[in-house]
């Protein structure tokens, strides 16, 4: 259905869900489609050409996180990496203990894997978070026992953007000789993570969150960490993850990881400026808006706001009608219409948790576009508040 003479801006503010493919990544992938269509496991030159590209990608990813290439395993994405890390490490180390520690605000691909392990007889402790989404370190220390074999805490939260004290957790795990896994899917473009120096045992990465292609990710597994194979029936990835190599996607993963590191400083600076400008403008024209997550220690492109009295999905659709793409909570859970488990875990009132919208900016947004977003936001919230039965009280600060 063509819209007549309507020039509508389209503004994408959902980079937390996925990012557009970078030109450099696209070009390398395109070249590899034409030049390296062989099966990377084949012995002939076609296979070797593909294999060479995969090894280059492996080196690039390894360099980006300060790992060794033989510690990098390619997967189908963040979910697989998370599933594999939790299930694979727990099952392989069952003889050492049956206790796993994670947090209440992890991605469902971690939480569901933990639930599966509970069915298999493992015991899982879920560490709570404070109002700003930071894990309770004292609780973590208390939770560790002689039976603990794995700690999995995300590097930065996908919904509210709060960054966790990775180094401290890694050191704690190291001191107790426990494997530490971190879901760095959201963080890798924003934080420098030196797995070797920090003593991280396993880490999940996804390409499409850092301007790479969808359907490919990485699980870093430190040499010496025992992990069960995830896919059976082939010698790929040392027999741990069987299946024909997705050469082109892996090429894209490698390039995306390289770019994420080389452009990190510049991107972080740009995103921080955008965020500051956006929040300032929102604060100028709106009231009864709450910033969720940590005020400063958060992903640079993430702003999660609760608009009191306004239900998130309705606001999302109003903004969508104005050409602005945002999300409620995370895209992974958006079908459910329930309040975000992350915000509830942070102790938020259920209505307020339902009133949250996540804006995840890209570096290409202009101040004029931010102004447009804020104006649409103001109008939409006003409209929805007029319909809402929720009374808006003057918000009192924390005592």
């Amino acid at each position: 259905m063509a819209e007549k003479n309507v020039i509508q801006k389209k503004i994408y503010l959902d980079h937390g869900a996925t990012t557009p493919l970078a030109n450099e990544v696209y070009r390398e992938m395109l070249d590899s489609y034409q030049e390296a269509y062989g099966n990377a496991s084949s012995l002939h030159s076609f296979g070797r050409d593909a294999s060479r590209l995969i090894e280059t990608a492996r080196e690039r990813v390894a360099k980006a996180i300060h790992a060794k290439p033989n510690e990098i395993y390619f997967t189908s994405g963040g979910t697989e990496s998370n599933n594999w890390a939790i299930l694979g490490i727990a099952r392989a180390n069952k003889n050492k203990g049956n206790h796993i520690i994670t947090s209440t605000i992890e991605h469902p691909s971690i939480l569901e894997a933990c639930k599966q392990l509970e069915k298999e007889g493992f015991v899982v402790t879920y560490i709570p978070v404070d109002q700003e989404g930071v894990i309770d370190y004292a609780e973590l220390v208390k939770a560790i026992s002689s039976k603990t074999i794995l700690i999995s805490i995300m590097a930065a939260n996908n919904e509210v953007g709060t960054i966790q004290p990775l180094r401290a957790i890694a050191e704690l795990a190291k001191a107790h000789k426990i494997c530490f896994h971190t879901d760095a899917v959201q963080a890798i473009g924003a934080l420098e993570i030196d797995v070797a120096n920090m003593g991280i045992g396993a880490m999940s990465i996804s390409a499409h969150k850092i301007n790479g292609p969808k359907g490919v990710g990485v699980l870093y597994v430190k040499k010496g960490i025992e992990i069960q194979s995830f896919m059976l029936g082939g010698e790929q990835e040392k027999g741990l993850r069987a299946g024909t190599y997705n050469t082109q996607a892996i090429v894209g993963m490698g390039k995306a990881a390289e770019l994420a590191v080389s452009k990190r400083e510049e991107n972080v600076k740009t995103l921080k400026n955008v965020k500051r400008y956006f929040l300032r403008k929102v604060n100028e024209v709106m009231s009864n808006v709450i910033l969720n997550g940590h005020p400063t220690n958060r992903l640079p492109g993430n702003v999660n706001l609760s608009f009191e009295g306004v239900e998130g999905e309705s606001l999302l659709m109003m903004l969508d009608m104005a050409g602005i793409a945002v999300s409620t909570g995370s895209a992974c859970a958006s079908g459910s219409a329930k309040a975000s488990h992350v915000l509830l875990a942070m102790g938020m009132d259920e209505d307020l948790a339902k009133s949250s919208i996540r804006f995840t900016f890209g570096t290409d947004i202009t101040p004029t576009e931010v102004d447009y977003v804020v104006e649409q936001l103001r109008v939409s919230v006003k409209k929805l508040r007029a319909i809402s039965p929720i009374r808006i009280y003057k918000v009192k600060g924390v005592q």
């Binding site: 500051r276 604060n283 910033l291 400063t296 706001l305 009191e308 079908g335 219409a337 329930k338 307020l352």
Partner: protein, 170 residues
């Protein structure tokens, strides 16, 4: 995901707001999703002279409540409480299964509003054969008055903190 009609009504709902001195108010909430719909009615000689709605909820919940409020206007309370989900769907078109709770809320709110009106005016209807049972929890008005939010930091405070920290970083 949403029918064109649903989106149209969502974008421009009618009959929203409250009625001062309403004869009856129905307030229902879906436990699972937290969506909340209220219908206000002003009744004279058993005719609903005016009906309005308020909704805290998704696209379908808002559109369905708007349809519900306009459907019952000018009808007797007996006709109003006879409306069912399919009457609202006739206006909205198709609604996804997982968003149907919004339509149920609208119907429940009508029934609850009529029941509230009868209770307030001491009308006893026996047998109450017309209305179906509520599918969601009805809430009373008093509960709402108690709601306070005191555990959240205002954006202004958080923001000034954040800006200060950022300045320090530079």
């Amino acid at each position: 995901m949403y029918s064109q009609k649903t989106l149209e009504i969502f974008k421009k709902p009618t009959n929203y707001g409250t009625i001062k001195g309403a004869s009856g108010v129905g307030k229902v909430r879906n436990k699972e999703t937290g969506d909340l719909t209220k219908i206000y009615i002003k009744v004279e000689n058993d005719i609903i002279e005016e009906a309005t709605f308020q909704t805290f909820g998704g696209v379908v919940s808002i559109a369905a409540a708007s349809v519900a409020a306009s459907l019952i206007q000018g009808k007797t309370t007996f006709t109003a409480e006879k409306y069912e989900e399919r009457d609202i769907l006739l206006v909205l078109g198709s609604v996804d299964e997982n968003k149907m709770y919004g339509v149920e809320l609208a119907v429940d709110a009508i029934i609850a509003a009529v029941a509230n009106y009868r209770k307030k005016s001491g009308i006893v209807v026996t047998p109450r054969a017309n209305a179906r049972k509520l599918k969601n929890d009805a809430e009373t008005e008093q509960e709402e008055e108690d709601v306070t939010i005191d555990s959240v930091e205002s954006l202004a405070e958080k923001l000034s903190k954040a800006l200060k920290k950022l300045k320090e970083e530079e």
